[in-house]
Amino acid sequence: MKALYNILKNFPRYLWSGWGAMASIFLFIALWEFGHYIYGDLILPAPKETFFRLAVMLSSEDVWQDVQITLQRALWGFFISVFIGSSLGFLAGLFATASIMSRPIVTILMGMPPIAWIVLAMIWFGMGDSTVVFTVIVASFPIVFIGALQGTRTLENHLKEMADSFNTPLLMKLTDIYFPHIFSYIFPSWIAALGMSWKIVVMAELLASSDGIGYRLAVARGLLDTESALALVLMLVGSLLLIEYLLMEPIKREVEQWRN
């Protein structure tokens, strides 16, 4: 509760610190404009036209429906991988044998390109929701798993001993020592997994679905409609920036202020 209050209290100051970031984004748009002058409409449509197209898109109900579908898939995949990854990682971290055995498997999972998973998932599940969600899960699961595993593995005996010297009850040891420590590892991995989910969901939709933003990208490609494609990319990048900087970063600053 207090954390939430602090996040809101520090929010205006945090936003104010964003001018530098804004400047660099505008510089990027200027470069884009420059590219447009060189390559023309087909290769690189003007930023103004693209933003205009984006505005048109956002005013249509169909697009919002697709956004909703994509968001749902991404979040389902994200939450399932967070749930499975956190709990399995925690369990594996408790036992030395389990953590040693799971390492190579996780390395394989991490090393396997998501595109390969999409192909397999299309064969296993066909076109549609489950293929997309499955791909999101397998891509983000290892990230969360490793975070939870490392958090649990690195629990310090020193602090436990200190707690024992005060006859600390088990529940308090959990809330004051184990949980904050594991959380400090697991939380960054959740953020990384969320970013991963958002990227993978579009890729999976592009190849294996007939709705969602990814599918719209595929259609834009088919029609050689560069403007729409760019507008969709803007939408994806914009939403990621918003989630990252307006939601995740303030939370991260609050819960991890003891680090710096």
Partner: protein, 258 residues
Amino acid sequence: MAELMPAYLQVDKLSHRFGPVDILQDINFRLNQGKVVSVVGPSGGGKTTLLHLCAGLLDITEGKVDNTFNQSAFAFQDPRLLPWQTTLDNIAFGLKAAGVTKLKRYQQARDISKKFGLEPEDLKKFPNELSGGMRQRVSFARALVVEPDLLLLDEPFSALDIGLKQELQNILIEQVSQQELSILFITHDLMEAVRLSDEILLLAAEPGRLLHTFTIATPIEQRTEAFVYSETAKLLSHPKIIDTFELTVNLSSNRGGQ
């Protein structure tokens, strides 16, 4: 109650082994209320194991430890603060473990923090914003805020500068004389042992066994620097100390000079 039945820590025939290795062998001693007993000896001699056994942090396998103190507290060589909690919460940790309400434990933590030279703004800081010396102050405050009658210290001064060392030692001396605090502490610094303790236990290494007990009769608060120096010099020339620490003795040097 305390007047009628002074508390004590009695260690009888205590032995301990890790696997096939004997760490401690047949340790016997007694710590009475209001007394300070220090354990000196070379590193790897099982001093920490002995302290952990007395604190109940390790299970006793052979022998007996009889502890009639109500409340004990432990301070370690490193401060062992929780990095994600503020100074105030860290000091109040032991009180929280004992079930003291938030308001009360914060009040007590604030009160004791003044004694340890912590400013109100330090209380809001996280441990990584504090200097090493400050962290050790916090660690001491955390141990003493639970008002222990037995304090177990594992080389708590070894990483501190001399000024802070003296400051913390003076607080302890005050507690011993005023509150009848009892202290069992480990050190490898003989001078520190002489300054603070009523009894010094000499522990030999491999396996840890009690070689000798030195008693210092002069009350702790009456010990001057000169007294501490001369007593330490006497100890340093004691054959058992020379033997245990494998000291090389320069026979031509002036005894008691350093």
